[in-house]
């Protein structure tokens, strides 16, 4: 017999994205989402208690004026089924985290609830890239590459122009492209490798260091500048170190004042939930919104498990190719009023399936 609580619980299955604020550990985000979901589940009315036979001293009928108390049986709800004795109906909701974000960074954090937790693994193993916006500041270097750390040195930055910055970024991008080719696990001497490289479909397979598939400067206002990167296998500390190295290449020093993830695979910042919306209703709405994306991830995960390595590598290379192409069109403004929805995932996936069909035949 399904109670309201069980029906609500069954809706909590899937993936959704949350906007993690800066300064908060990802575990606190996960814990507060879990406690909000549990609060909603336990506020549903509990199931009706079982009745038990009890003997009570009741007056023996209204006619009797002497008010004789007689033991009479009656069915009363057993106290053993009282919610204060049994406790809350739900003790735990499985909420898992996808690619983690450290406390200094903010941005899109993918969470999975219930059956969606298994899909998190597919998402992590799939070759999706992540999109970051890095804020940098010239003039000082600290011990942990952020602007809140202990300052180690201070330098001048008057000689830095946008042109020089672009040149440095191009050099870094070249090195990363080379790493992309090296770690793609394809025999570089074969014709097939040349074809893939020509079409830009090479992709790091398996274990690799952090690789930037895209890098550009979107804002330059010395001493502040903003970079946009697309990367795989990264950590946020690596990205802050990247800012520091950009500063070194320009013969000055730089610190990172913000790392913000704007996209994690198909999950974008427009549909991520802010802190006011970390309640059960909004979470269920977000899960429903991302249902198509979740289904694609499940299908691609199952396909990857069953298919051979060759097919899977072509599929994901198509994916990354279209993703990197798409990200270069991203607007420079912070506020994006028209949000590209998850329909783009559909396009990519259909392109993928078409290419799979072609490679099969």
């Amino acid at each position: 017999m399904t109670t309201q609580a069980i029906r609500l619980f069954r809706k909590m299955d899937g993936l959704f994205a949350v906007y993690k604020p800066q300064g908060v550990h990802w575990k606190h985000v996960r814990d507060s989402i879990e406690s909000n979901l549990l609060k909603a589940l336990n506020s549903c009315p509990p199931p009706a208690p079982q009745l038990a036979l009890q003997f009570q001293l009741l007056s023996s009928g209204e006619n009797n004026s002497s008010k004789d108390l007689v033991l009479s049986p009656s069915m009363l709800p057993a106290l053993a089924d009282h919610p204060l004795v049994i406790g809350p109906q739900f003790h735990k909701v499985h909420v898992g985290v996808g690619h983690r974000l450290d406390a200094f960074s903010s941005g899109v954090l993918v969470l999975g609830v219930g059956k969606g937790n298994g899909l998190l693994e597919h998402l992590c193993k799939s070759h999706v890239t992540r999109d970051y916006t890095l804020e940098g500041e010239f003039g000082k270097a600290t011990d942990n590459f952020t602007d809140t750390g202990r300052v180690i040195e201070k330098t001048t930055y008057d000689h830095v122009t946008q042109d020089k910055l672009e040149r440095v970024l191009a050099v870094i991008q070249g090195a990363n492209q080379k790493a992309l080719i090296t770690y793609s696990q394809v025999d570089l001497r074969s014709q097939e490798a040349y074809d893939l490289a020509v079409r830009g479909l090479l992709y790091p397979d398996g274990k690799s260091p952090p690789i930037l598939t895209g890098l550009r400067c979107i804002h330059f206002n010395p001493p502040h500048f903003t970079l946009e990167v697309q990367c795989v296998n990264e950590t946020q500390k690596y990205l802050r170190k990247l800012i520091h190295e950009v500063g070194l290449e320009l013969r000055t020093s730089a610190v990172c004042s913000g790392v913000r993830r704007t996209r994690d695979g198909p999950f974008r910042v427009e549909n991520a939930l802010t802190r006011q919306h970390w309640t059960a209703d909004s979470v269920i709405q977000a899960i429903a919104h991302f249902r198509k994306t979740t289904r694609k991830i499940r299908k691609s995960g199952m396909y990857r498990q069953t298919a051979g390595q060759m097919n899977s590598s072509t599929e994901v290379q198509e994916q990354t190719r279209s993703q990197t192409g798409q990200s270069e069109q991203i607007d420079q403004q912070h506020f994006e009023l028209s949000s590209p929805t998850s329909d783009t995932v559909v396009d990519r996936e259909t392109a993928v399936t078409m290419s799979e069909g072609r490679t099969k035949h």
Binding site: A80, G87, E270, F335
Partner: protein, 449 residues
């Protein structure tokens, strides 16, 4: 969780109970090593008296070895099991348990372990006595049930013997929850009707056993009446007892002494009732401790007696916790933040929570407000509620206002936004009135931080 002079008495009370159970286990090991039958006998009597409430029927009184070995098996099972959460003692209110009114006089050494005030007696003690001579060692001996002479169930017995048959209770002797005992125990059912969260209490170690052993008429009812006389509302009693079940084992003299002390310090009746509701552990602390705390607050804060009373009535937790964090917080306010004495007094009397706030979070909030928002000390002292607010909220709202160009916190200049309106308005009101923007804009801005 319980600190204070009153608690050790209770703890030893509990400890004797648990230590007696532990002694039983230690005696088993000792017995195994020494193979001393007299020790085994005492162990048997004790364990039988403490753990079993009569599942072994008196019909087996002739089968000495079976009885003995079965009790040993139960002992062994008990020793290898998880630590018992709730053990039943033999002390229960009369109508819930069947008991004998017969000649069953318990052996004196068992009585040393069990309370003398009880009416019930485990009848097995007397059964075990006459068979003491026939006890043999457990080691190396197997149970031979066929050799035992047992009465047939169809055999007719006399009236006296019929009365002596003890029907074992359906209640389990031990359980990890209070669920099986709630319907049968008067104390527990009355507590549930009051609104006490038994599930929460049984998670705490030993509290469940303590509650089961309480007698409603003798222990619980006088204290509930005492609290009611004090002025605590009945709707709040449930929450109070859930937070502090040990008020039911505190002696009434102590409770009355502490209440009279508080009244002698000129706390009104309503304020004492409010304090007890807000800080359930208050009356478990000794008079010396309460006195010490009140003296500290009066001296350190430099507030008048009236204001100290007001502060303590609003936050009675101050009297319960340790003084060290409070001293640290005061030092932080004085030295790190740089507040003057009268400013600290004003802050504490407006927002007493600053005294027990987390030092790191307090420092983070103050640092942001003073250094990033450029709000001077005088203004913060005027609105001390901001020190109590969430840091993320202050940060996001301030950055939003700064982005819109409306971050004006000086009262002398136009478009001034006071700190309490910045922090305490709900989001939609804040957006429409203070920031003059829509809620969607605010959310979009949050995603750029």
């Amino acid at each position: 969780m319980l600190v204070g002079n009153a608690s050790p008495a209770k703890k030893t009370g509990n400890n004797t109970r648990t230590s007696s159970v532990l002694d039983v286990r230690r005696f088993i090991c000792y017995y195994r090593k020494q193979e001393n039958s007299s020790v085994a006998m005492r162990v048997c009597q004790r364990c039988v008296g403490l753990l079993l409430s009569g599942p072994l029927s008196a019909a087996l009184q002739q089968s000495t070895r079976v009885l003995h070995q079965r009790s040993h098996l139960i002992l062994l099972r008990h020793s290898t099991r998880q630590p018992l959460v709730h053990t039943l003692s033999q002390r229960h209110s009369g109508e819930t348990w069947r008991h004998f009114t017969d000649h069953q006089a318990a052996s004196p050494d068992v009585h040393n372990k069990v309370d003398l005030a009880q009416k019930e007696v485990v009848p097995l003690n007397s059964d075990v006595h006459p068979i003491s001579s026939q006890v043999s060692l457990l080691d190396g001996q197997s149970i031979d049930l066929d050799a035992v002479v047992r009465p047939s169930p169809l055999q007719e017995i006399s009236e006296e013997e019929a009365v002596q048959i003890q029907v074992p209770s359906a209640l389990p002797p031990e359980s990890s929850t209070l669920r099986p005992y709630v319907d049968k125990s008067e104390t527990l059912s009355k507590l549930v009707q009051l609104g006490v969260n038994l599930w929460e209490l049984e998670q705490r170690p030993n509290v469940g056993s303590m509650l089961v052993r309480l007698d409603f008429r003798a222990d619980v009812a006088p204290r509930l009446l005492f609290l009611k006389d004090l002025g605590v509302e009945e709707s709040k009693l449930g929450r109070l007892l859930t937070k502090n079940p040990f008020i039911l084992t505190e002696s009434l003299d102590n409770l009355e002494a502490r209440v009279s002390y508080l009244k002698s310090k000129k706390f009104s009746k309503q304020s004492v009732a409010a304090m007890v509701s807000k800080a359930p552990y208050l009356l478990n602390f000794s008079v010396e401790r309460l006195d010490n705390r009140l003296g500290f607050f009066q001296k350190q804060l430099g507030l008048s007696a009236e204001k100290t009373r007001d502060v303590v009535t609003r936050l009675p937790k101050l009297l319960c916790g340790s003084l060290e964090p409070i001293k640290e917080n005061l030092k932080v306010c004085e030295l790190e933040f740089g507040f003057r004495g009268n400013e600290i007094q004003h802050i504490v009397s407006t927002v007493p929570k600053v005294l027990i706030a987390n030092k790191r979070k307090l420092t983070q909030i103050f640092d942001f407000i003073h250094n990033t928002m450029d709000v001077p000390h005088s203004l913060i002292a005027k609105f001390p509620q901001v020190l109590n607010a969430k840091f993320l909220r202050i940060r996001e709202r301030h950055l939003f206002l700064e982005y819109l160009g409306r971050a004006q916190y000086q009262p002398s200049q136009p478009n001034y936004i006071s700190l309490d309106r910045l922090v305490f308005l709900p989001d939609d009101v804040f957006c429409s009135e203070v920031a003059l923007a829509t809620l969607e804009d605010f959310e979009r801005f949050q995603k750029t931080l």
